[in-house]
C-alpha cells in the first residue's frame, strides 16, 4: 500500500442558495492517477478549486491533509508552494508570448530586478523535453496547435516542481491523436513518480488511464472504484454518475396537441470563428413542431450553444451551410434582427454576458428585443412600456419592488425570468432556451418549467438545451442527443432514460 499523499475530509462548500459540496471525502495515494467523474455541476471543479486555494481556507469547512500535514491554502500561490498545481480546462497561456515566457510567468528566473533570459530558456527547454515537445522554447504560443499548448501547460506545471498535478478536462479541446499522446504522457509521468488527478467527461479515456475513479454526484462523493479490483467499465461508471432517483420535480403538461412542423434545420454545418478548420456543428438536422418541447442534451462543448446561435441569425460561427425552414418557408437569416422578425428567439445560457443589460431596469430590459412594440416610430411610449413590464412581472411572478429595479440587483432566478419576459414579449413562434435553469434554485426552476409548459400550450415551439439529464427527460416531448458537434441520437421522451442517453454519447465518443 502506497503512502497517502492527499486526503480531503468532509469538505463542505456553500454558495448563496446552493450547497456545491456536501461532506466530500477524497483520498489520493502517491504515484497514482486518480480520476474524478460526474455530470456537469456535480461539484468536481469546485472540489479542485478548494484544493488549490482558489476558494481560500475558511470559505469551506473540512480538512485538507497533504503530505501528512493539515493545510490552509489562502490562494493559488500557497498550494503551488506545496507542489499542488492545477491545469484549467481553458488554456491560460498568452498567445503573443514565447513558450518560455509563458512557462515562467509569475515564476521568473533570475532576480526580481533582472530576469535571466538564458536561464529561462534553458530551463524551459529542459521541461519541454520531459513532456516530449521538440519545439524551441522561443516559439510564440500562437504558432503552436492546441495539443502542443496543452503539453506546454504540463511543462509549466512541472517547472513549478509539481508533486500533485490536477488536470481539468485536459483533452476537451484536443483531437484523438493529441488526446492519446497526452494520456500516454500522463502514464509516463506516473511511472516517474508523479501523482495526478484528472477530471474528465470522456469515460473511455478515464478507463484507459486511471488507477482509481471517484464518482461525484450532486456535491457528494458516491464511490471510489479501484481499477485493479473493481469493474471500471463505462456502464459501471455511468451507473454511479446518474444513479439518482427521479421525483416529480417537473410539472406535467396535459393535453397539449402537437401540431405541424414549425421549424426544420437540415444538414446544418458551422465552423469555429477563430479556428476555421474546426467544425462546431457537423451536418446537424433537427426539427420542432408547434406545441412541442424538444430537448437537446449534450455535455458542455458538444456544440449545442453554437448550433442555437448559428440558427439565430448567424450570431455565431462562420461558413454556415444548411437549410433552415420555418413554417414551410425556406429562410436565410443574416442577423439576429431578421431572426427575431422571422419569429425565432434565442434565450442565452449566459444571461449576464449575452442576455441582460445589468445596469438597466427591468422595464428597459423587457422591451429591448421589441422596442417597436412600445413605440410609435422612434418615439417610446413610456406608459405602454411600463404597462408591458408590469404585465410580465405579474405573469412570471418576478420578485421585485418595481419594474424600475436594476436587473443587476435581482437574484439569478429573477434575472432569468426577466430574460424570458424579454423574449416572450418579442412574441416568437420558436423559442430556443439555452440552459434555462442554470445557476438558479430549485423553486425558481419549477416556475421556469411551468412557463415552458405555458408556452407549449400557447402553441409555441420550444427547443430546450440542457446539460442536466433529469431536466431534459422530465420536460421534453422528444430528445436529441448531441456530442462532439454531431447529433448522435434522437428518442421520444417515453423511451429516454439516463442510461441510454449517456450510452449514446459514450458510443459516439469511442467511434470518433
Amino acid at each position: 500500500m502506497a503512502k497517502v499523499l492527499l486526503e480531503m475530509n468532509s469538505i463542505t462548500k456553500t454558495f448563496p442558495g446552493v450547497k456545491a459540496l456536501d461532506n466530500v471525502n477524497l483520498k489520493v495515494e502517491e504515484g497514482e492517477i486518480h480520476a474524478l467523474v460526474g455530470e456537469n455541476g456535480a461539484g468536481k471543479s469546485t472540489l479542485m478549486n478548494v484544493l488549490s486555494g482558489i476558494y481560500p481556507y475558511g470559505s469551506y469547512s473540512g480538512d485538507i491533509i497533504y503530505d501528512g500535514e493539515v493545510c490552509e491554502f489562502h490562494n493559488i500561490k500557497d498550494s503551488e508552494r506545496k507542489g499542488i498545481v492545477i491545469i484549467h480546462q481553458e488554456l491560460a497561456l498568452i498567445p503573443y508570448m514565447t513558450i518560455g515566457e509563458n512557462m515562467f510567468l509569475g515564476n521568473e528566473q533570475g532576480s526580481k530586478w533582472c530576469i535571466d533570459w538564458n536561464k529561462t530558456y534553458a530551463e524551459a527547454d529542459k521541461y519541454l523535453e520531459m513532456v516530449g515537445l521538440t519545439d524551441s522554447s522561443k516559439t510564440l504560443i500562437k504558432d503552436i496547435g492546441t495539443g502542443k499548448q496543452q503539453l506546454v501547460e504540463i511543462a509549466k506545471a512541472l517547472a513549478k516542481h509539481a508533486r500533485l498535478l490536477i488536470l481539468d478536462e485536459p483533452t476537451s479541446s484536443l483531437n484523438e491523436t493529441d488526446s492519446k499522446a497526452l494520456l500516454d504522457l500522463m502514464k509516463k509521468l506516473k511511472s516517474e513518480g508523479m501523482t495526478m488527478i484528472i477530471i474528465s467527461h470522456k469515460l473511455n479515456e478515464v478507463s484507459y488511464v486511471a488507477d482509481k475513479i471517484t464518482v461525484v454526484r450532486d456535491g457528494s462523493t458516491i464511490e471510489t472504484l479501484d481499477a485493479t479490483t473493481d469493474d471500471i467499465s463505462e456502464t459501471r461508471i455511468i451507473k454511479g454518475m446518474v444513479g439518482r432517483e427521479m421525483t416529480d420535480r417537473f410539472p406535467k403538461r396535459h393535453d397539449v396537441p402537437i401540431g405541424d412542423v414549425m421549424m426544420e434545420v437540415d444538414h446544418w454545418t458551422v465552423y469555429h470563428p477563430e479556428f476555421s478548420e474546426r467544425k462546431v456543428c457537423d451536418d446537424v438536422s433537427i426539427n420542432v413542431h408547434a406545441g412541442e418541447v424538444v430537448g437537446i442534451y449534450g455535455l458542455m462543448g458538444a456544440g449545442r450553444t453554437e448550433l442555437a446561435m448559428s440558427i439565430f441569425g448567424r450570431s455565431y460561427g462562420i461558413g454556415i451551410s444548411g437549410k433552415l425552414t420555418l413554417k414551410g418557408e425556406e429562410l436565410t437569416l443574416k442577423n439576429p434582427k431578421q431572426a427575431i422578425a422571422a419569429g425565432i428567439a434565442y434565450v442565452t445560457e449566459d444571461r449576464k454576458g449575452n442576455g441582460l443589460v445589468l445596469t438597466n431596469s427591468i422595464k428597459t430590459n423587457t422591451t429591448l428585443a421589441n422596442l417597436a412594440g412600445v413605440s410609435s416610430g422612434s418615439f417610446i411610449d413610456k406608459d405602454k412600456e411600463y404597462q408591458v413590464a408590469e404585465e410580465y412581472v405579474k405573469k412570471l411572478r418576478t420578485k421585485t419592488p418595481s419594474v424600475e429595479q436594476l436587473v443587476g440587483n435581482l437574484s439569478g432566478g429573477n434575472q432569468q425570468k426577466v430574460l424570458l419576459a424579454k423574449w416572450m414579449f418579442a412574441n416568437p413562434d420558436v423559442l430556443i432556451l439555452d440552459e434555462p435553469t442554470r445557476g438558479i434554485d430549485v423553486g425558481a426552476k419549477y416556475e421556469i418549467y411551468c412557463i415552458i409548459n405555458d408556452l407549449a400550450k400557447a402553441g409555441k415551439s420550444v427547443i430546450m438545451i440542457s446539460s442536466e439529464l433529469p431536466e431534459v427527460i422530465g420536460m421534453s416531448d422528444r430528445i436529441y442527443i448531441m456530442n462532439q458537434a454531431k447529433i448522435v441520437g434522437e428518442m421520444p421522451a417515453s423511451e429516454a432514460t439516463q442510461e441510454n442517453i449517456m450510452a449514446c454519447i459514450v458510443k459516439s465518443g469511442s467511434e470518433a
Partner: protein, 411 residues
C-alpha cells in the same frame, strides 16, 4: 435600509450639493463678486461650448466609455470654414449650413471607422484631432479672420448685441430690469410647476407609483427658485443672452433623444452590454455610428457658437475643448465604462467646471494653479463614483457571505 437611502440620495445629488457648496465658497472668497449679474451672464456665454460638446460627448461615452478627442479640432475647422465664407460676404445661412454639414461629415467619418472598421475610438479620433487641426491651419493659411456680419453675430450670440431684444420695455411700470427676461422666466417656472403636478396626477390616475408629494413639492420649489434667481440676475444685466436659447435647445433635444427615443435607449443598452444588445436584434454598429455622427454635428454647432462669441476665427481656436467636454461628462456622473450618464449630469458637470473656472479668475488665482484645481476636481468626482460603486459591491458581498454562513449553520 436607512443607510442605503442616504447613500442613494448622496449618489443622486452629490454633484448638485458640491455645486451649491462651491458657489457659496466662491461668493464668500470673492465677497459676492461671482454672483454679480454680469458674471452670471458671462458664465453662460463663455461655457456654451462645454454644454454643447458635453452633450455630444455623453452620447459617445454612453456607448461604452468611448470618447471623441477630435472635437476641439473640429470646432476650429468648422469655425474656420464659416469665417472664410462670412469674410467673402456670402449670406450667413450658407455659412451656418456648411459648418453643420462639415461637422456632420466628420462625425460620419469617425463613425464609419469606429463602428464598421472597428478602429478603437481613441485612435480614430486622435487621428481626427491631428488631421482636422492641420486642415484648419491649411484652409485659414495660418491667418485670423474676423466676422462683421451683424445678423450672424446677433443670432448666435456674439459681442454686445447678442441679447434677446426687450420687446416689453415700454409696457408697465418703468424699471431697470429686462421685462422680457422676467416674463420668460416666469412662464418657464410656472410651466414647469404646472406640468409636474399635472403629470403626477395623470400617473396616479393610471395607477403608477409616484414619489411622495412632499419630495415632489420640495424639488419643484427648489427648481422654481433656481429659475427665478437666474432670471433675476439676467434681467438685471442685459436680459436673455441668445446663446442661452441655443444651449437650452440643444440640451432639450438631446435630453429628449436620450430618454424617450429608441436611439437613446439603444445608446444606453450598447454601453451596458453590447453583446446582449446585438442578440436582441439591434444594429449595434448603427448605434455607434449615430453617436459619433451626432457628436460631429454638435461639434460643428459648437464651432458656430465659438466664432460668433469671439467674432472671428483663428487656427488655434478650440484647443483643449475636448477635455472640457469629457470632464463635464465624468463630473456629471457618466460612467467611464458606458451605460450610465444623463444630460442633467452634463449640465451639472459643465456648470460646476464653469463656476470653478470663473470663480478662480475672479478670485485672482494664478492661471497655473487653476488647471491643477480643475484636475483635482475631476479626480474627486471620479473617486466619488468609484467609492460609491465599491460600497455597493461591498454591501452585496457581505449579504452573500451572510447567506453562506446561514447555509453552513444548517449543515
Amino acid at each position: 435600509m436607512e443607510g442605503n437611502k442616504v447613500l442613494n440620495f448622496l449618489r443622486k445629488y452629490m454633484m448638485l450639493i458640491a455645486m451649491v457648496v462651491v458657489v457659496i465658497a466662491f461668493s464668500i472668497i470673492t465677497g459676492g463678486k461671482t454672483l454679480f449679474p454680469q458674471n452670471i451672464n458671462n458664465l453662460i456665454s463663455q461655457n456654451a461650448y462645454v454644454f454643447v460638446l458635453g452633450t455630444g460627448m455623453l452620447l459617445c461615452i454612453l456607448t461604452g466609455g468611448n470618447i471623441d478627442l477630435s472635437v476641439g479640432s473640429v470646432v476650429c475647422l468648422a469655425g474656420g470654414i464659416g469665417a472664410i465664407i462670412l469674410e467673402k460676404n456670402l449670406p450667413w445661412p450658407l455659412a451656418v449650413v456648411l459648418m453643420l454639414v462639415m461637422g456632420l461629415i466628420i462625425g460620419m467619418w469617425h463613425g464609419f471607422w469606429i463602428a464598421y472598421v472597428k478602429v478603437p475610438p481613441f485612435i480614430a479620433t486622435l487621428v481626427g484631432w491631428l488631421a482636422f487641426r492641420g486642415l484648419a491651419n491649411i484652409i485659414m493659411g495660418g491667418y485670423t479672420y474676423s466676422i462683421t456680419d451683424e445678423s450672424f453675430l446677433k443670432i448666435f450670440g456674439g459681442g454686445d448685441a447678442c441679447y434677446v431684444p426687450d420687446f416689453l420695455a415700454n409696457i408697465g411700470p418703468a424699471s431697470d430690469l429686462n421685462k422680457t427676461c422676467i416674463v420668460a422666466g416666469a412662464i418657464i417656472a410656472i410651466g414647469y410647476a404646472v406640468y409636474t403636478f399635472i403629470n403626477r396626477s395623470r400617473l396616479i390616475k393610471k395607477g403608477y407609483k409616484v414619489d411622495s408629494i412632499i419630495s415632489v413639492v420640495i424639488k419643484t420649489i427648489l427648481i422654481v427658485a433656481v429659475i427665478g434667481w437666474l432670471t433675476y440676475k439676467l434681467a438685471s444685466y442685459k436680459g436673455i443672452p441668445t446663446v442661452l436659447i441655443w444651449i437650452a435647445l440643444v440640451l432639450g433635444i438631446f435630453a429628449y433623444i436620450t430618454t424617450k427615443t429608441t436611439l437613446g435607449r439603444n445608446l444606453y443598452a450598447v454601453g451596458g452590454n453590447e453583446k446582449a444588445t446585438r442578440l436582441s436584434g439591434i444594429n449595434t454598429k448603427m448605434v455607434m455610428f449615430s453617436a459619433y455622427t451626432l457628436m460631429g454635428l454638435l461639434a460643428g454647432f459648437a464651432g458656430i457658437l465659438n466664432i460668433a462669441r469671439l467674432k472671428g476665427s483663428s487656427p488655434n481656436y478650440g484647443m483643449g475643448y475636448e477635455m472640457d467636454a469629457i470632464a463635464a461628462c465624468f463630473i456629471g456622473g457618466a460612467s467611464a465604462y458606458g451605460g450610465t450618464g444623463s444630460i442633467g449630469g452634463v449640465i451639472i458637470g459643465a456648470a460646476l467646471m464653469g463656476i470653478i473656472n470663473q470663480g478662480m479668475v475672479v478670485a485672482n488665482t494664478p492661471p497655473n494653479y487653476q488647471t491643477v484645481v480643475k484636475g483635482i476636481v475631476l479626480v474627486l468626482a471620479v473617486l466619488f463614483d468609484v467609492i460609491m460603486q465599491m460600497r455597493r459591491k461591498g454591501s452585496k458581498k457581505t449579504a452573500a457571505a451572510e447567506t453562506t454562513e446561514k447555509g453552513g449553520a444548517k449543515a
